[in-house]
Amino acid sequence: MRAEQTTMMANFMEGLRLKESYSIWIWRGLVGAAILIFWQWAAGTLIRETFLAKPTSIMWRLSELFATGEIWVHIRVTLTEVIIGFLMGSVLGLAVGLVLGSSRFLSIVFEPYVMAFYGIPRIALAPIFIIVLGIGIWSKVAVVFIQVFFMLFINAYAGVREINQEYVQLARIMGANKRLILRKIVIPSTMPFIMLGLRSAVPYAVIGAVVGEFIAASKGLGYFINYAGSTFDSAGAFAGIFILLAFIMVANGLMQRLERAVIRWRRSEGMVVQG
C-alpha cells in the first residue's frame, strides 16, 4: 500500500537527515556544481540547445520573466488551484479517513470501493474534470482535490487503525467519554500519520494542477511550460520547472515546520534519562 511506501520514504529521509554535517554540505555543493558545469558544457555540444537549454540561459530567462512580470499571472493561477484544492482535499480526506477508520462496519462495507478507487491512477481523471468543469481553475482544483483527498484519507484511515487499543481501554477505565477519547487519544495518536499525509500530498497537489493545465488551460505554470515546450523554448520550459521546484521546496519546508510544532512529543524520542 502506498501509505507504507511513504512511511518508508520518510524513515529513509529521516536517516539521511541524521547524517547531515558540515562536510556533507560541502560534498553536496560540489556534486551540484559538477552537475551544473557538465550541463552547461553538454548543452550545445552533446545535445542541441533547442532541446536542452544551458543553465545560464535558464537563469537569464527566469530573471527576464520576473523583471517583466509576465510570469506572475501563471504563478498566481497555479497557486490558487493548489491552495484551494489542498485545503478542501485535506479537510475532507481527513474527516472521511477518521470516520471510516473508527467504524468497523463502515470500513468493511467501503473497503473494496476504496481499494478500487485507490488502484486507478487518479491523474487519469483530469480530462473528465475538464469536460465537466471547463478549462478554468475549477477543473484543476478538482484534480488537486482528488489527489490530496486520497493521500489524507489513506493516511488518516491507517492512523486510526494503528491506535493502540490499550490506550483507549485505559482511558475508558479512567472515566473518559467518547469526546475526550477522540480529542486526547484518537487525534494525537493519528497526528504523525496525518502530518505525513499532508507532507506527501504537496508534490501530488502540484502535479495535479500542472497536469490539468497541460491538458487544457489558458493560464498557469503548467500551461506556461507546455506552451514553452511546444514552441521549442527549452529555457522557458526549464524556467517554469524551476519555479515549480522552488514552490514544492518552500511548501515542504513549511509542512516540516508544522509537523515539528504539532508533534513535539515525538522529537524527543531516543533521549532517555536514567533513574
Binding site: 485505559l170 479512567m174 472515566g175 486526547k184 497526528m191 513535539r264 524527543s268 532517555v272
Partner: protein, 242 residues
Amino acid sequence: MNALENVSLEIRGDSFVSLIGPSGCGKSTVLKLLAGLSRPSTGVIEFWGNLIQGVNKQIGYVTQDHNLFPWLTLQENVEFPLLARGVEREERQRRAGELIHMVGLFGFENAYPNELSGGMQKRGSIIRTLIYDPDVILMDEPFGPLDAQTRLVMQQELLDLWARKRKTILFVTHDLTEAITLSDQVIVMTRRPGQIKGIFDIPLTRPRDVFTIQESSDFHELYRRIWHAFRDEIRSQVGGTL
C-alpha cells in the same frame, strides 16, 4: 477451550493479593473480566454485588506496559483521569503535583514519557491510577518489563505507597518471590482452564523490606510450601502443547 472455570475470589478490603500461575493460565483474563474489558462466555462477573456491564470505572488498572500516553507530558498524563472526571484545573494540578512529588518525579512534570526511564514510566503509570482513588487496583505483571534491580526498587516503592494509601490490590505475576514479598495472600492458579489451586496467607510482618525479606526463614518456609503447589502446575507443561 475455556480460559477459566469456576473461579471465585473473595478479597478482603485493603489487602494486597497476588494471583500466580503458569503462563497462559488465565491470570490476566481474571483482571480483564474484572475491569470489564472482556466478557465471560458463560456466567457473570460481579463486583461488589453489582454485575459488571461495560467498562468498570471503579477500579484502577496498571498494565504490563506503562501505557502513558506518549503525546501528553507526565503531568498531563497523571491529571488525565481527573480531567475525564471533570475535576477543576487547580485541583487537578495540586493532586498530580502531590503524587509526582511523592514518587520522586519532581522536575519531570513536563517530560514526555519517552524521555523517562523504565522505572520512572512505571511510577508515572502507578500514580496515574492512584490519583482518582479507585477502591481496587488491578495490576497485570506491572514490573515484568523492568530489569532485576529496577524491579526490586519498584517493589519497595509500591509497598511504601501502599502503606500510605491503603487500597485493595490484585496483583498478577508469575514470579513467586515477588508475590510473597508484596502480598497478604497468594492465590495459586492451575494451568488452563484456570482454576484456583490454593490460597496461602502470608503472615510476614509489615513494613517489609524487599532487599532483606528473602533472607528470613519464614519467607523460605512460605516459599517452599507455595512452590510445592505451583511447581506441579509448571511441570505438567513440560512436553505439553506449548
